[in-house]
């Protein structure tokens, strides 16, 4: 009778899973995608777009509020806040994208290989990564950046990227382990498919949803981290605008011109919110069990 129950179980799985899988992503999801896209375009084409020069100081218009001419108003040096926010996204986005490129570029192949190969390779690598995970990554980042002078965008990207490797490794390894022990992968192995083929054709597509949603949430985390570093004076230095150092600079004249704090904060939070939302929706859409960051 056990095969009956098994069949029932299979039937049930088919019944429950299918409708959920095709659950639409929803309008809000696409709005968020659109907003992220808009930000990326803005960041890439900032010097082509009809924006004012973010460094130009208009002494006739210091600390003016939002108007048609200055969409977000100007700062205490008369610089156009809108242009600065758009230019500022360049730093945030390149830190987010660049460091996650490093983190995923190194962490995910290692994680996949370790989970697929198992054995000594896996044991050693995993233990090593766990030691690094116990390390407070944020503190390490702060420490290295404060000693590794002079600071530059590349160094920030490298440090954050390398610091994220153990975390990426762990998530990807766990996800791959879940898939690699499934019957169809074992079947493919038995049928003599090459490792390369199994890794790229069978495993990669299956862990991609987890990877992507984790990537998005990772980018959001890193952007927030860059903001924090900017506060500590460890990110790019003014006058180059970044969302973080704009918010940091604004606090000295918070009383006269609160817009200076509000607009970059808004830009940052909205961007992070969209990233998190997309990541979260994707995870639900592909019915992935919660992976904690």
């Amino acid at each position: 009778m056990s095969n009956f129950s098994q069949m029932i179980a299979e039937e049930e799985i088919a019944l429950v899973e299918k409708p959920e899988k095709s659950e639409p992503l929803g309008l809000l999801f696409w709005l968020c995608v659109g907003w992220i896209g808009l930000n990326i375009i803005g960041a890439i084409f900032a010097n082509v777009l009809p924006l004012q020069n973010p460094q130009f100081q208009d002494y006739n218009a210091l600390n003016v509020g939002p108007s048609l001419h200055h969409l977000f108003g100007t700062d205490d040096l008369g610089r156009d806040l809108f242009a600065r926010v758009v230019y500022g996204s360049r730093i945030s986005l390149s830190v987010g994208a660049g460091s996650m490129l490093i983190g995923f570029g190194i962490g995910s192949p290692l994680g996949m290989l370790a989970a697929y190969r198992r054995g000594r390779f896996d044991t050693i690598l995993t233990n090593l990564m766990y030691v690094f995970l116990a390390f407070p990554a944020i503190i390490a980042t702060i420490a290295i950046l404060s000693f590794w002078t002079p600071r530059s965008l590349i160094k920030i990207i490298v440090v954050i990227g390398v610091a994220s490797i153990p975390l990426v490794y762990r998530v990807i390894r766990t996800a791959t382990l879940n898939v690699a022990t499934k019957d169809y992968i074992i079947a493919a192995k038995v049928q003599g498919a090459t490792d390369r083929r199994i890794l790229l054709r069978e495993l990669l597509p299956n862990i991609a949803p987890i990877g992507i949603s984790f990537l998005l949430i990772g980018v959001a985390t890193v952007i927030a981290l860059e903001g924090a570093l900017a506060f500590l004076g460890l990110s790019v230095l003014p006058p180059t605008p970044s969302w973080g150092n704009m918010i940091n600079e604004s606090r000295t004249i918070l009383q006269q011109n609160p817009w200076l704090a509000v607009f970059p904060s808004l830009a940052m939070c909205l961007f992070l919110l969209c990233l998190n939302f997309i990541g979260d929706r994707l995870r639900h859409h592909f019915d992935v069990t919660e992976v904690k960051l």
């Binding site: 009778m1 009956f4 129950s5 069949m7 029932i8 039937e11 019944l15 429950v16 299918k18 409708p19 959920e20």
Partner: protein
Amino acid sequence: MSPDNEKLLVVENLATTFSTAGGPLPAVGGVSFELMANETIGVVGESGSGKTVLTRTIMGLQQRTNVNVTGSVLLDGHQMVGASEQEKRAVWGTEVAMIFQDPMTSLNPVMRVGKQIDEALRVRLGMSRADAKVRAIELLELVGIPSPEHRYQSYPGQLSGGMRQRVVIAIALACSPKLLLADEPTTGLDVTIQAQILNLLDDLKERLHMSVILVTHDLGVVATRTSRIIVMYAGRIVEIGSTREVFSAHRMPYTRALLESSPKVTNDPHTRLVTIPGRPPNLLKLSDGCSFAPRCSFATDQCHKERPELQDADEPGHAFACWNPLPATRKRTVKTT
């Protein structure tokens, strides 16, 4: 204590429907039966026939928002269908208690077993901490757990499956319920332990004067331990009668198939068990006819088109739902090929 001829439980036209992504799923589709005080009734059927859902509905444990229950369950005068959680809480534990299918999951893994027994005693019976502990240790002893004072302090993870099920039974018995619902109490255990647990239940039932609904998908289990048997298929009762009648004079082909597919000690070695051909129906796409028809060798056109209702057999209390029943002969020997 209720006299033996009093009806403890009256179930009438009970139906439980889950609304699922695939549409309404009638897990229990119109079940009626009665249970006397101090009686043990067996409920048998294949996996997925709705046994668990039936017992949980009787107890009113379904809490999910996607479930719809109709009909009536009168339990010692308490209507369980449509009762509020608070009303049911007053009945749970003291009037009716349940033993769950899998002792590995039905105990709280991070609570000492003693506390889990105590809890019912203190909350429901208002016992003091000290009294409850004494009583809990008595209960552990009653269900045959060696060195109960020591086990009182154990976490479920430190006990074997059989031990855990004994603890579950102790919890169920804590407030001396009149009705015990035992949902496949031995499925997760190995064979020697199975017999021990079932014997324990028999013994306790006699000593504590309870009624028991014993659910299983193994007819061998109920043969000697129940006075009556309910055979379920696709959420409905397809045959009901005294244990003797159901075993020796069953009328429904499904009952026979079920009997033939259960291993018996009396079988010769290497006897091949007959499996029931086909698979249980998809409850989302039930036909208008008899649900068993697609798998039944006696099925006629009528079977596929019209659902047979329960009809009385010769013996009082014996009923079956079939258009083409097996002939009403006594002493049917179950054929094993």
